[in-house]
């Protein structure tokens, strides 16, 4: 079983990083959002430092919604989803593997880019560390939550925007905890640990619920 799952993981990563795979799209979009904010806010470094973590979190949230709709629908369009549905492995494990590959291709680059983009917003070292850490723990939650939307996108051709709109409300708690933890690290009223543990808990819950729900959706669709 692990052999087949590793094959799916490697295949999805290979496709993502080849020409037209879309692995870089999220990071470029993230960069675009973060770069335009200082132009809109003006050269007010203390203000940028204060809103910086929130900007990074919003950017990462929107960037990780981008491309989610293709996780299953790309396979649906060329017929390989049938292969996956008929594979001997449980569909939940296949969905989880695809989500993990999608996170490595699109979520992990956001985490890596966050401290660099944080410099553009004038964040200090402590805030950079806090943003990167919360994103590292929070972006898997976004991907695995988005997996349900990705499965729905199979039944909704060209449903990219709709998927983002469906997933966004459920992603709001992650955004709240993520931004709260980062603000706490740079001197808020809350201790850092409380919201951080809540993101970690949300991530763990979605790691299980996302694939199960996505597999249920794919089984329902079967058309």
């Amino acid at each position: 079983m692990t052999h087949a799952l590793r094959a799916i993981f490697v295949r999805d990563l290979t496709i993502a990083f080849r020409v037209g795979g879309g692995a870089g799209t999220g990071v470029v979009f993230f960069l675009a959002i973060v770069t335009v904010v200082p132009f809109a806010v003006g050269p007010d470094l203390p203000l940028l430092g204060r809103i910086g973590p929130a900007v990074l979190w919003i950017g990462a949230l929107l960037a990780s919604l981008l491309g989610l709709d293709r996780v299953f629908s790309a396979d649906h369009d060329d017929g390989s989803l049938d292969l996956l549905l008929l594979a001997p492995q449980p569909l939940e494990m296949i969905a989880a593997t695809k989500a993990a590959a999608h996170w490595v291709a699109t979520g992990l680059p956001l985490v890596v880019a966050a401290p660099l983009l944080g410099l553009l917003l004038g964040l200090d070292a402590k805030a950079l560390g806090a943003v990167t850490l919360t994103l590292l723990v929070g972006t898997p939650a976004l991907t695995f939550l988005g997996l349900v939307g990705a499965a729905l996108a199979v039944a909704l051709p060209r449903g990219g925007l709709l998927v983002a709109v469906l997933v966004l409300p459920f992603a709001v708690p992650i955004l709240i905890f993520g931004a709260a933890a980062t603000n706490a690290a740079v001197g808020g009223t809350l201790p850092f640990g409380t919201p951080f543990k809540l993101i970690a808990a949300t991530s763990l819950a979605f790691l299980v619920l996302g694939p199960v729900a996505a597999a249920a959706v794919l089984r329902q669709i079967r058309d």
Partner: protein, 203 residues
């Protein structure tokens, strides 16, 4: 081994395509599904594979109910090739092989059998429609499955490709495999039962 379908009915988009369809295929037998466009040939194949829920009736393979289980015993080659354009021909086959638990050395054999060995490292998007079809059919060789469900398998194949395919199916049946194929073109080499789906909803 026996594939059994009982009283299958198919309703697509509110339209009844067929109902009360029963058949059985034993080891070493082939079943051809024929009929005009839109008669439900593809739907029937997907139903057997468990990719489409029947409106009524059931499909069983050796007594197992159809809920993924028949699919597990089957190779399904649909009218889409399930080939990833950015992967090479070889990578595509290795993926299927690993996914379905085949032996890795079957990949080179599958490519060679369909005359794709010189193109093994080419990105699959550079292949012609017929070559992609050959690649899709080469899947049949990389992992062993008793039941082959083929939807218009010879579309796009040249004469040589059709001969390779014919030899392949003959070997599969001789080894006690089962074959269900939806097709417009006759496969004269096959001695097979035939289900003719009518456009009006009969069978």
């Amino acid at each position: 081994m026996r594939l059994l379908a009982q009283e299958l009915a198919c309703i697509r988009g509110g339209r009844r395509l067929f109902q009360g369809l029963s058949f059985q295929v034993a080891a070493g037998e082939a079943l051809l599904v024929t009929g005009p466009n839109g008669a439900g040939k593809t739907s029937l194949l997907r139903m057997i594979a468990g990719l489409l829920r029947p409106a009524a009736g059931r499909v069983a393979f050796d007594g197992i109910d159809a809920d993924r289980e028949v699919g597990i015993a089957a190779h399904f080659v649909g009218h889409l090739d399930a080939v990833k354009g950015s992967l090479s021909a070889e990578e595509n086959l290795y993926f299927v092989c690993d996914l379905l638990g085949g032996a890795g050395d079957a990949v080179a054999g599958g490519l060679a059998r369909f005359g794709l060995a010189p193109l093994a490292s080419f990105p699959a998007r550079m292949l012609s429609a017929g070559q992609r079809r050959r690649l899709a059919l080469a899947r049949l060789l990389v992992a062993s499955r008793p039941l082959w469900l083929l939807d218009e398998p010879t579309t796009g194949l040249d004469n040589e490709g059709q001969e390779i395919f014919a030899a392949l199916t003959a070997t599969h049946l001789a080894n006690g495999g089962l074959l269900v194929a939806a097709t417009h073109t006759l496969l004269p080499h096959l001695r097979a039962q035939e289900i003719r789906l009518a456009s009006g909803g009969g069978a």
